[in-house]
């Protein structure tokens, strides 16, 4: 047996089994190729469907928006014909689908790729693909044993091909479509909306505004409870109020002031606030540190009642503006501040309450209408608002002049008591009288306990700010190069020292000296 007889010419397939194997492989490859192409088509279709629907949705929304804008502005600048809308909404997505699917269908699928898919599906260990390569191989034959191995591979592949012909390639079904149903429904609803809006366009092609048919106006005017809700009417009301004279306004407010006085006893009814259940308003309205009694509060209250009209003249705000701030008032009520409220507007409230509403304050709608408009603008109002909270400023007189001057002083001090108090001169007796009159102040000049801070009140509306959420991200390796580094050809022990140092820093346990070892490696035992 010569060596040439032993060597099988590669690729020619002289034996019948080899030719049969070739035919089987060709048939299997063509079948698998068809199924793979179908699979690619299905994958492309599913992958493109969602973006196509999104695109159609976007374009149709744009079209509908333009239609509505055309109606709102009442002219034909934004009128677009139906065919354009349908072309935008349906044509582009269809084009996108066709383009993607055709690209997937045109993608070449080779014979080896098809056989590989069969090998993977049937778990044949790449036998079919290897056999096809060996049959096509133009490499010169090697040793006898290598030729034998190739032939053995082909024989194994022939057996595998028979098994593959019986089972065939059945690709697993794709997972459910990722297109959410609501997207499809939204698309359908948008198309329906488009068709519903289209009849509003008359024969000339111009749009019909919403208010021209006479029905919209009536609907806007009628309300469920009779109160006016028409924004146009609301805009007209302030003009009417501005025309009122101060007298009319004062007369209009008179009943309310009277009602305010009638409501005085109401102030002593139980408060609504959660903090002061059952407490009268006067005590509930003041802070714990500066709680005022009833009589001073009433005094401040009556003294301030007369200034309500002036304040109303100062701040001419209409009822509508007050009503527009119900939420503002609610928030003020919930602030819980109880400093000097109720000064303006003839409020019956306890002067210990501030203009900021307290939870414990009893209030009615009329009071809120009167008092919410008041703002503490200047220092006078601020101090009046405090009322009897601070007994030091009760009499509103400056602190006593305690200067001890030489001589008899410029004038008589009404507060002088001759005992060295607030007097011009202390009457000394005994040895002290022998001391020359040297001005020795007996205390430090200044305001008695003014404190380090000055409390000012201002109405601040808390406003919420939107802060974007910071997405959590896993730490990834550095994307860029570290930069120019020194020559790493350092001593081995130094290199290892650096390596261990950095590894210890990265240790998940966080303990220094611990190095992270791969799972296959055992833990490093500690040195004694």
């Amino acid at each position: 047996m010569s060596h040439e007889d032993d060597v099988m010419p590669a690729g020619e397939g002289t034996s019948r089994s080899t030719s049969m194997l070739e035919a089987d492989l060709r048939m299997l490859a063509s079948e698998a190729e068809g199924k793979l192409r179908e699979r690619n088509y299905e994958i492309a279709l599913r992958a493109t469907l969602r973006p196509a629907l999104n695109l159609g949705l976007l374009l149709l929304s744009l079209y509908v928006l333009l239609l509505l804008m055309g109606r709102a502005f009442g002219h034909g600048l934004f009128d677009y014909p139906l065919w354009l809308g349908l072309a935008l909404g349906l044509g582009w997505p269809a084009l996108l689908l066709v383009w993607r699917v055709s690209a997937a269908l045109r993608q070449p699928i080779g014979r080896l790729q098809s056989l590989r898919a069969l090998d993977e599906h049937l778990d044949l260990g790449e036998r079919l693909q290897t056999a096809a390569e060996f049959l096509d191989c133009q490499r010169p034959a090697g040793s006898a044993i290598e030729v034998g191995f190739r032939q053995a591979t082909l024989e194994d592949a022939a057996v595998a091909a028979l098994a593959a012909k019986k089972r065939g390639l059945s690709l697993p079904s794709l997972p459910r479509s990722e297109v959410p149903p609501r997207l499809v429904w939204a698309f359908a609803l948008l198309i329906l909306l488009t068709f519903l809006l289209l009849p509003r366009i008359d024969a000339t092609g111009t749009t019909i505004p919403i208010g021209d048919d006479g029905q919209g106006q009536a609907q806007a005017d009628t309300e469920e409870d009779g109160t006016e809700r028409d924004p146009l009417a609301m805009h007209q009301r302030p003009r009417e109020d501005k025309e009122e004279t101060p007298q009319v306004e004062a007369a209009r407010l008179e009943p309310k002031r009277g009602s305010g006085s009638k409501e005085e006893p109401e102030s002593s009814r139980q408060s609504k606030g959660s903090a002061g259940m059952g407490r009268p308003t006067e005590s509930a309205g003041s802070s714990g540190a500066s709680q005022s009694t009833g009589s001073p509060s009433n005094q401040a209250q009556t003294s301030k009642a007369g200034k309500a009209s002036k304040k109303k003249q100062k701040k001419r705000k209409t009822k509508e503006e007050k009503k527009r701030k119900p939420n503002k008032a609610r928030k003020e009520e919930e602030s819980g501040s109880t400093v000097g409220k109720g000064a303006a507007g003839g409020s019956h409230r306890s002067p210990s309450a501030s203009t900021w509403s307290s939870k414990d304050q009893v209030s009615s709608d009329e009071e809120e209408a009167l008092e919410e408009e008041d703002e503490v603008d200047d220092e006078t109002d601020e101090q009046e608002a405090r009322g009897g909270v601070q007994p030091q400023l009760r009499d509103r007189r400056p602190p006593v002049n305690r200067d001890l001057s030489i001589g008899f002083g410029s004038g008589k001090n009404p507060d002088a008591n001759g005992r060295g108090g607030p007097s011009e001169q202390k009457k000394s007796r005994g040895v002290a009288s022998l001391v020359l009159g040297v001005p020795i102040p007996d205390h430090i000049k200044g305001h008695p306990n003014p404190g380090k801070t000055k409390i000012t009140q201002e109405k601040v509306q808390p406003s919420a700010e939107d802060a974007p959420a910071i997405p959590a991200e896993a730490r990834t390796p550095a994307k860029k190069a570290v930069g120019p580094m020194a020559d790493p050809q350092m001593n081995p022990w130094m290199r290892e020292l650096v390596r261990r140092y950095f590894l210890s820093l990265r240790s998940p346990v966080g303990k220094p000296g611990e190095t992270r070892v791969p799972p296959s490696q055992p833990q490093i035992p500690k040195k004694d």
């Binding site: 047996m1 007889d5 032993d6 099988m8 034996s15 070449p108 080779g110 014979r111 080896l112 790729q113 590989r116 260990g125 790449e126 036998r127 693909q129 290897t130 390569e133 060996f134 191989c137 090697g142 040793s143 006898a144 044993i145 290598e146 030729v147 034998g148 191995f149 190739r150 032939q151 053995a152 591979t153 024989e155 194994d156 390796p477 550095a478 994307k479 190069a481 570290v482 580094m485 790493p488 081995p492 022990w493 290199r495 290892e496 650096v498 390596r499 261990r500 950095f502 590894l503 990265r506 992270r516 791969p518 296959s520 490696q521 055992p522 490093i524 035992p525």
Partner: protein, 336 residues
């Protein structure tokens, strides 16, 4: 005729599997567990490569190599490397001996490197000068001492061990020498069920020894069989892509390589992949290499050929991470 060749090939493959299994069984008479390590060492023996075993002390690395030497019945030598060791200590040196009839003469005394199975224990303790003495022996299978050249008898296999714990007073192997090892196998702790067997075998009166089941010529014949296994084109391409993927700047290198690898594998890595995959294919009952075989041997083959740069070390990447990522990123090529 082709059918006869196929029959002979099948017989050769069966013979290979039989020899492999009996040597493995003989070694497992002494070593408990560590099947992956034993298979890697046997694969290196059948391919003609060398193995670097890395593990903490007490895992049976030395006894594994000794048992293998006993099972294969080849000349076995053990070299315990120390920092004061010189190249002459392992290669051999000329010594002055008494000549017959009086006088003295210089005789060359071979070193422990001249053997079939060489256990280089704690190779990283030797100085680079001594380590380089192994380079020629491992690659060329010969030793050059002055004018003398000693050809080392096949099968020749160097099984080196190193300790990853103690790094003081050690000299890490240079990349050139690391590249000459076919595998770098990490020896781990035994499993819980193996501990009991280890204690029974090692703490009794009877000392376990491996029985001789093969010899050097049989190993050489197995090597011929392994090298005859054909490699299809797509498997070759896959091995090439994997090796090129370890090289920064290559078209097949993933991002982790570009950022964290200082030096990738040389073409020796591709050779090692193919040879090791051939052994794998034969043991699996196939007659040609597949991509799955290459994937199975890639970690042991590429682990010591990928050098991580400082940035990668700072980030905590290991060569195993790089190889794992490489296997995920590099796709199996499919012909048209």
């Amino acid at each position: 005729m082709p059918k006869k060749q196929a029959v002979d090939a099948r017989k050769a493959a069966e013979e290979f599997r039989a020899v492999h299994d009996k040597i493995k069984a003989a070694v497992q008479e002494v070593i408990v567990g560590q099947e992956e390590v034993i298979e890697a060492v046997l694969a290196a023996l059948f391919v003609g490569g060398h193995v670097l075993l890395e593990g903490v002390p007490g895992l049976g690395k030395t006894i594994l190599v000794r048992s293998l030497g006993e099972a294969v019945e080849v000349a076995f030598s053990r070299i315990q490397f120390t920092p004061d060791m010189m190249p002459a200590d392992i290669q051999g040196t000329s010594i002055l001996v008494d000549a017959d009839g009086g006088g003295h003469e210089v005789q060359f005394q071979q070193g422990p490197l001249v053997a079939n199975l060489v256990l280089a224990d704690e190779i990283n303790r030797a100085t680079p000068k001594t380590q380089s003495a192994l380079l020629e022996a491992m690659q060329e299978k010969q030793i050059s001492i002055g004018k003398r050249t000693i050809h080392l008898e096949e099968p020749y296999c160097v099984l080196a061990t190193q300790n990853p714990v103690e790094q003081e007073g050690t000299y890490p192997l240079p990349e050139a020498q690391l590249d000459r090892f076919l595998f770098k196998v990490v020896v781990g702790y035994p499993k819980e069920e193996d501990y009991r067997e280890i204690l029974q075998r090692t703490t009794g009166n009877v000392e376990s020894r491996a029985s001789a089941v093969s010899h050097g010529k049989e190993i050489l014949a197995m090597r011929e069989i392994v090298r005859a296994v054909p490699v299809p084109e797509h498997a070759e391409t896959y091995a090439i892509h994997l090796v090129m993927g370890t090289q920064p700047g290559s078209a097949f290198a993933p991002g982790i390589v570009e950022e964290n690898v200082l030096l990738g594998s040389s073409p020796r890595g591709a050779q090692a992949l193919i040879l090791a995959a051939k052994v794998r294919a034969l043991l699996a009952g196939r007659f040609a290499v597949t991509c799955e075989d290459i994937q199975d041997v890639a970690p042991d083959v590429l682990r010591h050929r990928v050098i991580i740069n400082f940035q990668g070390q700072a980030e905590g990447f290991t060569p195993d991470d790089v190889v794992r990522e490489l296997l995920d990123q590099v796709s199996v090529p499919v012909g048209v």
